[in-house]
Symmetry: D2
Subunit: 114 residues, 4 copies
Amino acid sequence: MNSIDELRLRLRAFADARDWEQFHAPKNLAAALIVEAGELLEHFQWLSERQSRTLDEQTRSAVALEMADVLLYLVRLADQLGIDLIEAANRKITLNERKYPAHEVRGRSDKRHT
Amino acid sequence: MNSIDELRLRLRAFADARDWEQFHAPKNLAAALIVEAGELLEHFQWLSERQSRTLDEQTRSAVALEMADVLLYLVRLADQLGIDLIEAANRKITLNERKYPAHEVRGRSDKRHT
Amino acid sequence: MNSIDELRLRLRAFADARDWEQFHAPKNLAAALIVEAGELLEHFQWLSERQSRTLDEQTRSAVALEMADVLLYLVRLADQLGIDLIEAANRKITLNERKYPAHEVRGRSDKRHT
Amino acid sequence: MNSIDELRLRLRAFADARDWEQFHAPKNLAAALIVEAGELLEHFQWLSERQSRTLDEQTRSAVALEMADVLLYLVRLADQLGIDLIEAANRKITLNERKYPAHEVRGRSDKRHT
């Protein structure tokens, strides 16, 4: 069982134990996910790009927990929709490799950058 | 090597081949992540909660790719910051288990629901 | 002078007095705006649509201040970019009126709804 | 009648003509608003702060329409909730003036910057 599957089962048990399945409509989870993404971005909004590459330990630790929140909602949403996150992510990288050939986009900021 | 680690290495190679490391400041990745979270939410914004639980196959497939985008930026950001996503996510679930005891919050929508 | 112009001048004076112009790059303001939009959405994420139409007074008051934050960053961003918000908004409504003819989209949720 | 009031009435007529009131629950409007805020931020995500201060005319024009979208949902949401946006915004500036005294926060990026 991979680590995402373990999170998936742990989150399912967490929701079941609290009878929160009723609130976990995909619409609500997608909203909760972007709210957490906002809390993550908040840490960076007034930093320069350079500063964002060298966070102090306290900020880095807070950022890690915000990222955890995003991942948890993502995993929970995938579970509700029956989506295999890892498979979708690998498929998307393959699509991006074709869409952005290295020799065409090298060093250019006017292209997407996943 | 777990599946997140595989994504991490694949994304690193992807960025290196395109010389996009320069754009991948954590600040920019956190911004890109929330942009993708917005594209994800867009699919649900006018659906009822009930409708969001029964997506047609075309929408579900599009949603899977938006979720992939969120995960890819999350993994890339974690790589740039030296954060172990899976460890942080498990730590966060443990924190939530203590913060929201099942017998206190069962079935209540006025509590957070990770 | 319209009310948006008054806000614009008040915000400019606010930033000048604090020497915050240096942080108010459009990129940063657009990030700050979406962070506030996330704080706004947070109030609604676990509510049903029906519940969101009948907020208690405390929530409504908190929501009003989150909406104020969004507007303030929007006005500040428009000032930095030399954009006339009211003109742009009216132009956009006109575009939407043409794009979504009433007789074609009446009561349909599969169309955008500005 | 101020310019926000004019937008409010125009948007109300727009929704009425299309029978879209049913979709305009505050929850949905708050979601739609952040989706537009994401489309706005997308224009800036790979730009440096400096670049974001000097947009080319085509980008600036696209940005203006994204900002219009944010404003339209904000005005529509305020109408649904019976909130006076301009009053709330002025109240918020007054709160911020007290919270961030100029002599204490001058030139500091570790404080909020509305």
